[in-house]
């Protein structure tokens, strides 16, 4: 009898222990990876939402781990007696998950619908969605170097797609790099928009192909150019030798040919 009671007690202790050990796991919704500045995606969305739930983060929940998220995370770590490093490791994520709530389905639904919303704890969710027309739903968001905006990316992707959609990827990055090289040059206007719409500068503007919807490949090409790649090797112009009629463009010093385009100074 005593033995049975002892075994039952041992089972109970073991079960309780297991529950205690499992409990944080149950509320643990992040993936296993360590999240830090520069990260992007679902884990960052959850991190931002949970930090906002607790009142540490007041920025947009967009899945981009920038400085706003970084300072909020540090403040959270300081308040909860954790190591203050702005990195969401296992311990930080565990404490965060145990002290906050995250309605993944609801948050992702708002993001996918392009709605403006917040996720503070203690306020009904339906009161946290901004009334009015939603933004562009389904459009992908990107992390860009700080000197560029998503509008720059969109406009340049339109130009690259209109000008070079039939070209190899290298040629598309090169066209984007030419636009950025002009931005650095004293011979051209000061903004991406002025450069693209300078009369006669790009064929795609003249024939209206700039208004076609760019594909993901054109956006990736612009992203690579914005991140520093320049397959044109500092070119300021390019032309198709089979169709170019301007004598002037043939007078420019040439650098290299990619696909149908010759790139030059």
């Amino acid at each position: 009898m005593f033995r049975n009671i002892l075994i039952a007690l041992l089972y109970l202790v073991a079960a309780t222990g297991t529950i205690t050990l499992i409990k944080p796991e149950e509320s643990f919704a992040f993936s296993n990876q360590v999240i830090e500045r520069g990260a992007f995606g679902d884990d960052v969305i959850e991190l931002q939402a949970r930090l906002q739930y607790l009142g540490f983060y007041h920025g947009k929940i967009d899945g981009k781990f920038g400085y706003g998220t970084y300072w909020a995370l540090r403040n959270f770590q300081e308040s909860y007696g954790l190591k203050v490093d702005g990195i969401a490791g296992a311990e930080t994520k565990r404490v965060l998950a145990n002290n906050s709530d995250f309605d993944r389905e609801w948050v992702h639904a708002q993001i996918n619908a392009g709605r403006e919303f917040t996720y503070y704890g203690g306020i009904p969710l339906d009161q946290q969605v901004k009334k009015g027309k939603a933004g562009s739903s389904g459009s992908k968001s990107y992390q860009l170097p700080s000197k560029f905006t998503e509008q720059d990316l969109q406009l340049m992707a339109n130009a690259v797609y209109g000008e070079a959609r039939g070209e190899p990827y290298e040629g598309q990055v090169a066209v984007a790099a030419v636009i950025l090289n002009r931005l650095e040059s004293p011979d051209f206007p000061n903004t991406i928009s002025e450069i693209i719409f300078q009369p006669g500068a790009f064929t795609a503007v003249a024939d209206g192909q700039i208004w076609l919807t760019p594909n993901e490949r054109a956006k990736q090409a612009v992203l690579d150019a914005m991140s520093g790649w320049d397959p044109s090797e500092n070119a300021l112009y390019y032309f198709n030798p089979n169709t170019a009629t301007s004598k002037w463009i043939w007078s420019r010093p040439q650098i290299k040919q990619i696909g149908q385009h010759i790139f030059c100074y």
């Binding site: 007041h58 170097p145 011979d187 397959p231 650098i255």
Partner: protein
């Protein structure tokens, strides 16, 4: 037969009406563009006169306040004039030369306003003022027929197409080129910058095409045994390089490798990337370190990582000098796939261009509590080298600061360690 004639008549009439409608629309569009171009031209001409007057007026004063006012006017007007000129369908040579000349005047005004060297400004502008007057007259002469009240849009279409030799802008273009070179000659630092950009310092031995492929395969072993197409840069290229295009399985890409010394300056590989993320940020850091070790880039530090849908972009900068400062212009960028950690891109152009740093630049301490307003928190501070507007490499403090009451407003402030000039302020995402 009668019905056929009847139907044909209706079709011809409908076609005629449609053609008339299209023609009317086109005429309307032409009128609107004609009006826009004329408006930009008028704006440009007005701003040019205003700029010329302001430059002249700036030569009147010794009084600092009066002079500062004119310098501000000049800087603002030069920017507005550049915008007006860039909205006109001019011959590219004319537009480029104008934008450069006007921009240089604005840059000089900004520089004088910042450093207070008014004597140098007035000395330079005594010449520029006369040349600008002449250019203004030539501009008026060249553009006179655009103001003729004939509503003829065709003249705008012809401006960019007409050969410069036969264009009314011929004299203007020629004078702009001459005055640009004389009035704003390249400074030593600008000239050095161009030499660096053109890789003039590389004196290494020339390599062959096969050696170039070996360099590529050593740095990026993943593409070993790809199918290569190698061509050489065009004759006018400022530095000769091999342009290697490769195909391996689903990978298509290129690499540019200098003929002198075989330095890889650019590499990109395109392949379908699986949407699942299998590689953690820590793993990307580890792979980056492994790569730079293999490549022998032993003086680099990661300064920024950015994750996107398919890949990570990793930015590194050289660490140099007694201050262990980050040399931002000597950077390397890597692109690493999220699905497997494969190196998809390398940009080492700036690293190959490599700067000479001045380790002896004085470091005058700054009290950040006095430099920033009380509600600004300085979170990080380190030494960096970066270029100022005159393309001089300067040792600077790089400060990451934020507002105390708003954590979403973080700024990067770059301050020269010697003269405390603020070289850059940018809001960080």
């Amino acid at each position: 037969m009668k019905s056929l004639v009847y139907l044909l008549s209706i079709a011809v009439l409908a076609l005629g009406l449609y053609a008339y409608d299209v023609r009317s629309d086109n005429q309307q569009l032409k009128k609107e563009i004609h009006a826009q171009y004329t408006n930009s031209l008028s704006n440009a001409s007005e701003k040019l006169s205003y700029l010329q007057r302001s430059v002249a007026q700036s030569l009147l004063f010794q009084d600092e306040k009066a002079l500062q006012n004119e310098l501000d006017n000049i800087w603002r007007t030069s920017n507005e004039l550049r915008t007006s000129i860039s909205n006109l369908p001019l011959n590219p040579d004319v537009a480029n030369q104008w934008l450069r000349y006007i921009g240089k005047i604005g840059d000089e005004a900004k520089r004088a306003s910042t450093n207070g060297d008014y004597e140098s400004w007035q000395k330079k502008m005594t010449v520029v003022h006369n040349n600008l007057e002449q250019l203004t007259n030539e501009w008026s002469l060249a553009t006179a027929h655009f103001y003729e009240n004939d509503g003829d849009f065709e003249k705008w279409k012809q401006v960019a197409k007409t050969d410069l030799e036969e264009s009314p802008f011929k004299n203007l273009a020629s004078n702009l080129k001459t005055y640009s070179e004389k009035d704003f000659p390249l400074t030593t630092s600008e000239s050095d910058w161009l030499k660096k950009r053109d890789l003039k310092h590389i004196r290494d031995r020339e390599i062959t095409k096969d050696e170039a492929i070996q360099v590529l395969e050593k740095l990026v072993p993943g593409i070993k045994d790809a199918t290569y197409t190698v061509s050489k840069s065009k004759e006018d290229a400022p530095y000769p390089f091999y342009h290697i295009q490769f195909v391996k399985g689903s990978r298509v890409g290129y690499a540019d490798i200098t003929v002198k010394g075989g330095h890889l300056i650019s590499f990109l590989s395109e392949r379908p990337v699986q949407p699942d993320r299998n590689i953690t940020q820590e793993k990307v850091k580890e792979l980056t370190k492994q790569f730079i070790e293999r490549a022998g880039y032993d003086d680099l530090e990661i300064i920024e990582m950015r994750e996107n849908h398919e890949a990570w972009h990793v930015h590194l900068a050289r660490v140099a000098g007694k201050h262990n400062a980050l040399v931002y212009p000597d950077g390397i960028q890597l692109k690493v796939s999220k699905d497997s950690g494969e190196l998809l891109g390398l940009n080492a152009m700036e690293y190959v261009q490599r700067e000479n740093i001045n380790d002896n630049q004085p470091v005058v301490p700054i009290d950040w509590k006095k430099f920033f307003r009380p509600n600004t928190v300085v979170e990080e501070e380190r030494f960096i080298y970066t270029e100022n507007e005159a393309y001089q490499l300067r040792l600077c403090y790089e400060v990451i600061a934020r507002f105390e009451d708003d954590i979403n407003q973080t700024y990067r402030v770059v301050v020269d360690t010697e003269n405390h000039d603020v070289l850059k302020v940018e809001q960080l995402p």
